[in-house]
Amino acid sequence: MSLECWNQPAVDLVVDDSQRGEHNLSDYWSESPVVLYFHRHFG
């Protein structure tokens, strides 16, 4: 149940954002380091 150090290029992908429309996930990390929380599902 812990984070591990990692060193691997992130695979960029298109995500669906209701405010910005479809865009690349890299749009976030190009602005600042980002914590990506992948939820099992919302709720």
Binding site: S2, L3, A10, V11, D16, S18, V35, Y37
Partner: protein, 135 residues
């Protein structure tokens, strides 16, 4: 998470929530919960696959926690908002995880959940030295 958003920002980290949903569905859930950080949808689970977040089975998803911690599990089930699990794009066996990605696009920290409860605390994520020199 929302309550700790300022601490992430103090550390120069942006938070993005990703779920098995369309962008509209994702934002709808997050608006309802008062979440101010970006909430985006990955309905085809490409991000999950690219980071190696696996699928559990009945044992990982439900039975183990019922056996090992029945009272807490029943409490969580009672509190759960099941709408997300019922979305067309949701695979209920999909497990989640956390990745910290630096500005260069490198994954610097990763956690692949082994069960629904297996997620690091906010304190652990905030305390993790993701800027340590790469090996």
């Amino acid at each position: 998470m929302q309550q700790s958003l300022g601490k992430f920002e103090e550390r120069g980290l942006r938070v993005v929530a990703i779920g098995q949903a369309t962008g509209t569905e994702a934002r709808s859930f997050c608006d309802e919960w008062g979440v101010e950080y970006p909430c985006v949808g990955d309905p085809r689970r490409r991000g999950y696959r690219s980071l190696g977040f696996g699928r559990g089975g009945w044992w990982n998803i439900a039975v183990r926690s019922l056996v090992t911690n029945p009272i807490e599990t029943v409490r969580l089930i009672g509190q759960a908002d099941r709408r997300g699990a019922q979305l067309k794009s949701t695979d209920i066996f999909q497990l989640g995880g956390i990745a910290i990605v630096d500005r260069g696009g490198t994954v610097r920290a990763l956690h692949r959940a082994q069960s629904p409860q297996d997620m690091p605390s906010v304190e652990e994520v905030l305390g993790f030295d993701w800027q340590a020199p790469l090996p």
